[in-house]
Subunit: 145 residues, 2 copies
């Protein structure tokens, strides 16, 4: 494909993103968890958080949007959410063992689906693609997003 005639980068990336999200939706439904619920589990698996505001910022969400998600995850005993003894305004957030196990199961399913999708690429191209994605995803400091 001549580079000049390709579709806009934004259009291609967003289109692929919607395709991936559509692929993930039934997996999440099977595990009875929302997209935001999964995002929260993933974030807390990477590191526990000291406040809900910090969690919201780290996943690019509004703090008010998180509350219903956290309520549900806590109700199902997938996360810990307890007042910080040192500052009782804050809520210490982390995964419970059950939350960690559920996240691992969901992620395994999603990884399998990703492999199906990426099977359209040759092995070397797949590696290059993922590496490029990681680079573009993480802009160098000093260039505000």
């Amino acid at each position: 494909m001549p580079a000049q005639d390709r579709a806009d980068l934004g259009a291609m990336v967003m289109h692929l993103g919607r395709r991936i999200l559509a692929m993930e939706r039934p997996i999440l439904a099977r595990h009875d968890i929302s997209m935001w619920g999964y995002v929260v589990l993933s974030a807390l698996r990477d590191q526990p958080m000291r406040t809900q505001v910090a969690l919201a910022t780290s996943i690019g969400a509004d703090k008010t949007r998180l509350i219903a998600v956290l309520d549900e995850l806590q109700r199902r005993a997938l996360i810990r959410r307890e007042p910080d003894p040192a500052d009782r305004r804050a809520r210490l957030l982390g995964l419970t063992p059950a939350g960690r196990r559920l996240h691992q199961r969901i992620r395994a399913d999603i990884r399998a689906a990703e492999q199906d999708l990426l099977a359209a690429l040759a092995e070397a191209d797949r590696t290059t693609f993922l590496a490029a994605l990681a680079i573009l995803d993480d802009p160098p400091p000093g260039q505000p997003e």
Copy 2:
């Protein structure tokens, strides 16, 4: 980066997509056109359409959502939109010369911004990345999206 520790594909792609859209927003604003307006100009540049439904389908939008967009583009004389003499229910859609010129100017600005973004990749990786994106974006027939 070990493949097992990378972020989910969907998260990376959607994050990059939002980054690109944020990059495009000021460009579109400078040309006084909405995101959907630009999408419509792009689609009609690729090929004229016989109905608004066909246009809506081709860009993944709802037909009702298009109407305000088409009203505005027509008001600014950027598109043609006339009843098909052979079937007066349908509206023949296409770019005017002014619409074609505006699309070309906007696309040039967007391409320039894309180059800045892609400059984070080595030349060979950039080529591979764009080719991979085009492949993943266009799933083989028989695999419904």
